[in-house]
């Protein structure tokens, strides 16, 4: 059962071919086969959320997904957020609010926040806090992370074109 599989993944809009053992996690394939090391691994049992990526726009723990399960899905990692180094609105909000210290949990929080904002664009600050409670941060005490995501939500709402 450890026979390698040839696998095609769509990561950040690019089709990638990798040869993996069935037991190889999506986190390991992203980090070590595709060298997308922005996705971090903090617990390997699905609690800390440092490895959170988007699969078809929904946040998932890349440590709990086998790479073979991601075939056919649209996978997005932290590397997809900036444009040639220019920060996205959410990344800039994290910088403005000092929402990161060591930065290890940050990619997971960014992808989780994108998922929360996509699913609940009208979320208020407490709903955002609830959504962000899926991931662990050991440095900030969370307050400034909640602030940054809330500010981004408000800014995105104010920029919406009324329908």
């Amino acid at each position: 059962m450890n026979d390698p599989h040839l696998l095609t993944l769509t990561v950040n809009g690019t089709e990638e071919e990798v040869v993996v053992e069935p037991r190889r996690t999506l986190a390991d394939v992203l980090r070590h086969d595709l060298r997308l090391t922005g996705t971090h691994v903090g617990c390997e049992h699905g609690v800390c959320g440092a490895c959170t990526v988007l699969m078809d726009d929904a946040p998932v723990r890349a440590c709990l997904v086998f790479a073979v399960q991601a075939e056919g899905a649209d996978v997005r990692t932290v590397e997809s957020l900036d444009t040639d180094g220019a920060l996205s609105d959410l990344q800039q909000a994290f910088a403005d609010h000092h929402s990161l210290q060591c930065g290890f949990c940050t990619p997971g929080f960014l992808m989780l926040a994108e998922g929360v904002l996509a699913e609940s664009p009208d979320a208020d600050r407490e709903e955002i806090r609830e959504g962000l409670s899926a991931n662990l941060c050991r440095c900030t005490g969370y307050q400034t992370i909640v602030d940054a995501v809330h500010a981004t939500a408000c800014a995105r709402r104010s920029q919406e074109v009324p329908s």
């Binding site: 990692t77 590397e79 000092h98 990161l100 060591c102």
Partner: protein
């Protein structure tokens, strides 16, 4: 109270804020790479031909090892090698105190356990394979045979001494020091109007950096050097210890540190795994990577905090404390850590226990016990969260017994005149002990929390904690502990290139504290250049002769002062060269604050740094005869005497749920004074993050063991790390008492939050339970205990 026979702080260095960068919350230099996934953490490093390592670890807490059989491991598909202690033959890790045998028992921590294992998770063998999956397969195939011994799992079984963790440590005592027994203790208790006795306990905790430990070691034949890339707070200490354990010249070891995902003290001691991986890379002449998994981090990483304080205090009828008598017992686990030793916690507690209060008579005994649990490292705050909790509980208990308000009792005892030399022979530099207490209380009162609590409709409690924190531990202060390895100084080198840009080094080690930003602010102000032109380099033992890394909130006080001094010297050099080129006297020029040197009596005459650098490097024949080419300067800094103290008061409002016993924090106020604030948002972030960890210790996190020494929390399912819904928003107010003897007036800010939160939360919960007659003195506070209390008639 100021003693005249003790050293007073040396002449003031702080001359007020300079320039335009210090004090501003500028964008962090670290952020762009960390936000875009372009940071480089240790597990992001991949080298050609790299192998992966893992450890066969003990499955029992205390046993003689009768056999380690790696035969099956070595034939597992993908496994390249497997070694036990006999194969590697490495020197032990030994951390010593220069104290007599009745006070300190030296013990050794082998890199790999050989004849005996002392905790579940102790490394016995290292397995090397082509990928981490094969490593796991190889570990699985190892067979270890044990002759199991009784486990030492608590103070009682330790002191009974029938089972010994280390044969040389009778009664399982590694350190037993009675640091103070000042005159008048017994008389004060005899004369006391009220005597209170409090036994406070804090559970074993994990500092829990979100990035686990890890190392990539590789042999460089050209440099004749072992490159050890590791996530450590103390790169030079790793270099020193790797060289000693491998018995090689220190020159042949280079330690570099990539981005670090936190440390909080867990990474300020040298791990045996770092040494083992380095040894294997040297042996195989191939790169080897080890990344600790979370189970290892929770069970076999360095832990912290498990301490008991039996405190007696005498008070007069007016609420003045007249004597303090304390017995401190710290469960340090299986081994003494390098370089601090098992003495670090009880010695710090003994030295600083009187905290922010005027205590006239003091007796203390501090003990470090060894047990069959994972060893401990000095976690953020070290013993201060515990001794502060002890004395803050004493203040509350005394207030209750005397029928006084607990804040008022603190006010009557808190140190108000500085410098103050305490009964503990420590001189405290100026702070805002009473002012922070007053402001915290006024904030809670003005917001109406007292009125809401007193309305009695909900189980509300208000708690305070007043404390100070020694942040600038110089070599004099550390030497008092009698460590044989004495941290204290730090070095800095600064270089300006031909474009006027600056690279500055520091022996401190950023792991989230924003040194790349704050140190750049300091340098930019000293030299009068844009902060974007300053790059800090840390974490490379080849770039700086020696350093003590980052712990004990020392970075801005000591490292920040060293970069200031180096910058100042570079400024003097720029002035000397400029004066020569301008053909004027050296005292007729000065830095102009805008990237140049100006002639004082004729400001139209000016040279930019680029123009001066052009001469210093590319046209050195134009330099003054007594100036050597290149633009660089070095400096060292050490904090004199007893160092400097930050301080704060925390005020907390909690609500206890009578059904579940859950404690919800409704309000958290922090009034802190860390001297001159270099970067306000960074200081706020340190406070909030520290408070979150303190709350974690007060309400949630604990590493427990069963009677056989088996740890019960091996995953985040059982080790309860608080999330965004458990940690409240925190309001922070800053008071500013500039430090007189650091270069920038700054005191450290790294640990304070963690120190204040446990006592403040515990006091608040007790206030919420005040009508029940139950008083809690143990953390973490279990919901069951709160619910039981509220159910009492």
């Amino acid at each position: 109270m100021t003693a005249t026979d003790l050293p007073a702080p040396t002449e003031p260095r702080f001359e007020g804020r300079r320039g335009r960068w210090v004090g501003a919350s500028i964008p962090r230099h670290e952020d762009p790479r960390l936000l875009t996934g372009r940071g480089r953490f240790v597990d992001d490093i991949t080298l050609p031909g790299m192998l992966h390592a893992g450890f066969v670890r003990a499955t029992v807490a205390h046993a003689h090892v009768t056999a380690i059989d790696l035969t099956a491991t070595r034939v597992v598909d993908g496994v390249v090698a497997a070694y036990d202690a006999r194969d590697l033959a490495l020197g032990d890790i030994v951390a010593l105190l220069d104290r007599p045998a009745e006070e300190f028992t030296p013990t050794a921590m082998p890199i790999l356990a050989k004849d005996k294992v002392r905790f579940v998770g102790e490394p016995l063998a290292i397995v090397i394979a082509r990928d981490p999956y094969a490593v796991e397969d190889g570990i699985e195939a190892a067979v270890v045979s044990y002759d199991v011994l009784d486990a030492v799992v608590d103070e009682e079984t330790a002191l009974r001494g029938s089972a010994l963790v280390h044969d040389e440590a009778a009664g399982n005592v590694l350190l037993d020091v009675s640091m103070f027994d000042t005159p008048g203790v017994d008389e004060a208790f005899a004369d006391a109007d009220v005597t209170v006795e409090v036994t406070t306990r804090s559970g074993r905790q994990n500092a829990l950096p979100l990035e686990t430990r890890g190392v990539v070691a590789s042999w460089d034949a050209r440099d004749d050097q072992l490159l050890v890339q590791t996530c450590t707070q103390v790169p030079h200490q790793v270099r020193t210890l790797v060289a000693r354990c491998l018995d090689v010249p220190e020159r042949t070891v280079r330690v570099t540190v990539p981005d670090m995902g936190g440390g909080f003290g867990q990474k300020c001691v040298v791990g045996r795994e770092e040494v083992a991986v380095a040894a294997v890379a040297q042996r195989l002449h191939r790169p080897v990577k080890w990344i600790e998994d979370r189970r290892e981090a929770l069970t076999a990483g360095f832990l912290a905090r498990e301490q008991t304080y039996r405190t007696r205090a005498a008070f007069d009828a007016d609420g003045h404390i007249t004597a303090l008598d304390v017995d401190v017992v710290c469960d340090m686990g299986a081994y003494s850590c390098y370089p601090f030793t098992a003495g670090i916690e009880p010695l710090m507690a003994s030295a600083e226990m009187p905290s922010v209060y005027r205590v006239p008579a003091y007796r203390v005994r501090g003990r470090a016990l060894t047990s069959n649990k994972a060893p401990t490292a000095p976690y953020r705050g070290v013993s201060r969260p515990q001794y502060v909790m002890a004395i803050e509980r004493v203040m509350e208990r005394a207030a209750r017994e005397l029928g006084l308000d607990a804040v008022e009792v603190r006010r009557r005892n808190v140190i108000t005149e500085f410098p103050y030399t305490g009964v503990n022979a420590v001189t405290y530099d100026p702070g805002t002990y009473q002012e922070s207490l007053d402001l915290a209380e006024a904030t809670i009162r003005d917001e109406g929390w007292y009125a809401l609590r007193d309305a009695g409709e909900r189980h509300l409690g208000i708690g305070f904690c007043c404390f100070s924190e020694r942040t600038g531990y110089g070599s004099e202060a550390f030497a008092k502990r009698k460590m044989t390895v004495v941290p204290g100084f730090d070095l800095s080198e600064i270089r300006m290139d031909t474009t006027g840009a600056v690279v500055v080094t520091s022996g401190t080690m950023n792991h989230g504290q924003s040194h790349e930003t704050t140190f750049a602010q300091i340098v930019a102000d000293r030299l009068g250049i844009d902060v974007a032109r300053v790059k800090l380099r840390q974490g490379d033992t080849e770039r700086i002769a020696y350093g003590w890394g980052t712990f004990a909130s020392r970075s801005v006080t000591i490292g920040g002062s060293a970069v200031s001094l180096a910058s100042e010297r570079l400024g003097e050099l720029l002035c000397r060269i400029a004066a020569h080129l301008l053909e004027t006297r050296p005292d007729n020029v000065a830095l102009d604050g805008d990237g140049g040197v100006v002639q004082l009596d004729d400001p139209s005459r000016r040279l930019s740094y680029e123009e001066i650098a052009d001469v210093a490097y590319l046209r050195s024949h134009l330099l003054p005869k007594d100036v050597e080419p290149t633009l660089s300067a070095t400096a060292s800094f050490d904090v004199p005497g007893d160092g400097t103290f930050s301080n704060a008061t925390h005020a907390v409002v909690v609500e206890a749920d009578p059904g579940t016993g859950a404690v919800r924090i409704l309000r958290y106020v922090c009034v802190e004074d860390c001297g001159v604030v270099i970067h306000p948002k960074v200081v706020d972030g340190q406070c909030r993050g520290g408070i979150a960890q303190g709350i974690a210790g007060a309400l949630f996190e604990e590493v427990t063991y069963d009677g056989h020494g088996e740890p019960s929390a091996a995953s985040f399912i059982d080790y309860l790390v608080p999330t965004a819904t458990e940690i409240p928003d925190v309001s922070i107010s800053h008071l500013e008492t500039p430090c007189a003897f650091t270069e920038n007036g700054a005191k450290g800010a790294g640990e304070g939050g963690t120190i204040g939160a446990p006592a403040a939360v515990l006091n608040a919960v007790n206030d919420a339970l005040r009508h029940t007659g139950v008083e809690l003195d143990t953390t973490p506070i279990h919901p069951r205990v709160v619910a039981d209390a509220l159910e009492r008639p």
